[in-house]
Symmetry: C2
Subunit: 130 residues, 2 copies
DNA sequence: TCTTACGTTTACGTTAACGTAAACCAATGC
DNA sequence: GCATTGGTTTACGTTAACGTAAACGTAAGA
């Protein structure tokens, strides 16, 4: 019943990465699995961290950047100064993300145009045949 | 009056990259500036290509991926088979971009939460003082 | 008992995307 | 005339994010 635990290969399969990758993330301090003797035991929290890392990767973040974003979630920021610094960090990251969304929208728009041209060209080709 | 041309350092300054970077893109076949004797002369088209490359970089695309996307724009795809292949490529890329948008939105949502927590914590701190 | 599956550490190899430095040429201002 | 500015090629160096391989431990199953 308690919290579910995971082996390294379970997580590797779920997220479609190699075990090497997961151990590498640990090496870089991005996850901290417990140990049962020698073998690594991953908690649900570890699993979420890996998920967030991979989400970051998909939008081109480095592991360090993902680590920073993840660190924003944990409440180890006690005093007001740290909170204000964190808020600024969050705002900076937000701006980057918004720029990325704009870049993606621009690119999607470009793809729309390409697609239209393709379809038009195909239709013209068919007309000639018919 | 004619089309504007650019030196390598003009473009480097405009896009905030080094000249080394621009020459590297040429080395990889991403731009093909003309020459005035030894020196490179960049056209408006070259400038756009560099712009698109950097846009791709911002959302985590490799140079090769950017090159592929850029190649979608040029109409060197003559026959129907090539057009259909291109349409599939466009669709695949579109799916990737939509996933990226979702990832960004998820991350923005997370940042919203973090920000709320920060502000709440700061307000509580002020109350104690007042 | 032996092999098969899964885990471990250690360490060298690899690719992408430039950085950095050397050594050189060409026009320009003083 | 000569230093400065901006361009060139060539080539080795660097960082991130793993891949790959060796060499080993261990528990389960035929």
């Amino acid at each position: 019943m308690g919290k579910p635990n995971y082996t390294i290969s379970e997580l590797a399969k779920e997220f479609d990465v190699t075990t090497r990758t997961i151990r590498f993330y640990e090496e870089k301090g991005l996850v901290h699995p417990q140990r049962n003797g020698q073998v690594r035991v991953y908690t649900a929290a570890d699993r979420v961290r890996i998920k967030l890392i991979l989400r970051g990767k998909r939008i081109g973040m480095t592991l360090q950047e993902s680590a920073e974003v993840i660190d924003m979630y944990d409440p180890d920021h006690n005093n007001a100064d740290q909170l204000r610094t964190l808020i600024e960090t969050v705002e900076a990251r937000r701006l980057l993300l918004l720029q990325q969304k704009k870049d993606i929208d621009d690119m999607l728009f470009g793809l729309d145009e390409v697609q239209s041209l393709c379809h038009t060209a195909l239709r013209l080709g068919e007309e000639i045949i018919s």
